[in-house]
């Protein structure tokens, strides 16, 4: 038996998989050309930022904002003028090549942090190493590795950096054991988010637990049992069963279909940012996609995504969800993000500026390409098209007329599409909520985007710490707008969903069900909890037949 620090609960019976990282070999010879090394640094930083943005998004979607924030701090390090300044100085004043210049800067800061008398700060030196190593690997032209994991993998490593855990196949990994680390380590935090055991600070474990060794992990005691005998295996198998049962208590909600006691149907759907998110939705029993954010298709690239490329993505999602509704929102982006192939004007306030639908009207070709791709994909499933950020009925008319243009073109070209594709809109600009009655006559559905609705209505930037406390979903004005919107929808015979955070807010459920909100669309990991809370409401009941996806 081996013991370490119990850093995350749970039990695991699996197989040791060693995570061996290729050593970074740095050339310490003098640089041939300082301008070249500076250029290598510049492009490496840009590439590292791009990688980290992707990892940040993936982690945010997989595990949430909290866990993803570590990558935000990595990004900030790459923008740190002192850090980058030191690397440049190493190149300019000491003629070092870029990788070595980066390594020296890394060593400087790691040393600085390791001598701080604060455990938490010392642990941050691991982040510095992680970012610097990433930068070094890129500057050396290394490809990032894709690792393959067997079922029930228990990862054995010296340490697990945020980058390491971001690449893990979360379906196959059931535990972490590392040589260094403590309860505040990144690997501990990650294991807790994933709901798997972690035992850290097990010195020399890489030598002791070779690849393929069968292991039992006890995340409560911090004990590891290599090559366990049968009695022990039976014992722990039982422990795992009990543990999973407590988790499972939630999963009974997966196949339950709900409806209002009045007879009105009630759907619990999921929000996705890319097709990768679908697995979690299906696993959690989502009854559809209430919001498919399409921005990922347009970001992190130098040229516009082609119609075919977009069509393939929309088709894939539509097919995967078969009969279930897939609400796809057209591009909702603005000047706060950098899109190299769109000339965005310089705006003092990009959030109230040329963004989302307004930007799409400006970028006619881009908009029509997306609409055409959506229409073409519509024959493969139940696609609904949704327009964001509409404030006036004219904007809705304009969007619909451009959609008509696309339909006519496709017809002339002999390309099939579903002419009955439902068209809806986000209710997020207060004007739209106030005039919901007028809008309800001209769309097939509403989806309330509470995040922005609240910000616009209360004039609060919820990311601004000075005023964040004013962001109140339960402000009477917000409730009033939500009521108006849902009522207007029902009066016009259309459905109204909600895709903002408020849909998963357990305190809001009582109110929203009284208003008979037709669809709650939440992030994948919240689906079961949302169903659980909905079922607790008096006006909600479950019905016997299942909606299978």
């Amino acid at each position: 038996m081996i013991t370490g620090i119990a850093a995350s609960d749970g039990f695991a019976i699996g197989v040791a998989v060693q995570l061996i990282k290729k050593e970074i070999i740095v050339d310490t010879k003098t640089a041939q050309s300082i301008p070249i090394e500076l250029k290598v640094l510049e492009t490496s930083v840009i590439a590292a930022i791009k990688q980290l943005n992707k990892i940040y998004e993936k982690t945010r979607i997989d595990l949430g904002e909290e866990e993803a924030n570590v990558f935000e701090s990595h990004l900030m390090m790459l923008e740190d003028p002192e850090f980058i300044g030191l690397i440049k100085k190493n190149i300019e004043e000491n003629n070092h090549q870029a990788p070595y210049a980066i390594e020296l800067a890394k060593d400087f800061y790691v040393q600085l942090f390791e001598t701080l008398d604060n455990e938490y700060m010392r642990a941050r030196s691991a982040d510095i190493k992680d970012v610097a190593n990433r930068l070094m690997r890129i500057s050396l032209g290394e490809e990032s590795d894709t690792l393959i994991f067997p079922e029930h993998s228990i990862i054995i490593a010296h340490d697990l950096t945020p980058s390491d855990t971001a690449q893990l196949d979360k379906k196959k990994v059931i535990g972490f054991i590392t040589e260094v680390g403590s309860k505040t380590s990144h690997s501990a935090i990650m294991a807790r988010s994933m709901g798997i055991p972690a035992i850290l600070g097990v010195s020399e474990v890489c030598k002791q637990l070779k690849n393929g060794t069968k292991i039992i992990m006890d995340g409560d005691t911090g004990n590891i049992y290599p090559n366990p005998d049968d009695p022990l295996l039976t014992d722990y198998s039982k422990k795992i069963v009990l543990y999973n049962e407590s988790i499972k208590a939630l999963s009974i909600y997966k196949d339950i279909t709900l409806e209002y006691t009045s007879g009105r149907p009630l759907t619990v759907a999921g929000n996705i940012g890319s097709p990768d998110d679908l697995d979690l939705l299906i696993e959690q029993g989502a009854q559809g996609v209430g919001l498919f954010r399409t921005e990922f298709l347009f970001m992190g690239r130098n040229s516009m995504p082609s119609e075919d490329e977009q069509y393939n993505v929309y088709k894939q999602v539509a097919e995967t969800m078969s009969d279930a509704n897939v609400v796809i929102r057209t591009l909702d982006i603005g000047g706060d993000k950098v899109i190299p192939y769109i000339t965005m004007p310089k705006e003092d306030n990009p959030f109230l500026g040329l963004r989302a639908l307004r930007l799409c009207f400006h970028e006619h070709v881009l908009f029509k390409t997306q609409l055409r791709a959506l229409l073409r994909a519509s024959v493969y499933g139940s696609i609904h098209i949704m327009f964001p950020m509409i404030g006036s009925i004219d904007e809705l008319h304009q969007a619909k007329s451009i959609l008509e243009e696309c339909k006519v073109e496709l017809q002339q070209e002999g390309i099939p599409f579903d002419n009955k594709t439902p068209i809806g809109m986000m209710i997020e600009i207060p004007a739209a909520a106030i005039s919901a009655k007028e809008f309800a006559k001209e769309v097939d559905f509403f989806s309330i985007g509470t995040n922005d609705l609240i910000q616009y209505t209360l004039a609060v930037d919820r990311m601004n710490p000075h005023v964040a406390n004013l962001y109140n979903p339960f402000h009477p004005a917000i409730i009033s707008l939500i009521k108006t919107t849902i009522q207007a929808a029902h009066d016009a015979g259309i459905w109204c969903g909600m895709c903002g955070e408020m849909a998963s807010d357990t305190e809001a459920i009582s109110l929203l069900t009284q208003l008979e909100l037709d669809e709650f669309s939440v992030t994948g990991s919240q689906i079961l909890k949302t169903k659980e809370h909905l079922l607790k409401q008096e006006c909600v009941k479950s019905i016997p037949n299942n909606v299978t996806i």
Partner: protein
Amino acid sequence: MYKGKATIINELGLHARPASTFVKISSKFFSDINLVCNGQEGIAKSILSVMALNACKGDIIEISAEGEDAQAAVEALVSHIEEGCGE
């Protein structure tokens, strides 16, 4: 040159998250902003520099700024710290 002081009230001090918000705010200003805490010097726009200050709860951080928006910068950062850096 404009100067100000604030006492850290966060439980865990100026660790990663509050340090990030602190740096984001200082980066909005044009002025050069320097920090002193526990005898250590730091640059307000550098996340590593701010974290390395190891500013703990109860520590006093001195902020000095030089530039056209020096006063606004110092005032913004002082209030940010006094309000717990958004935590």
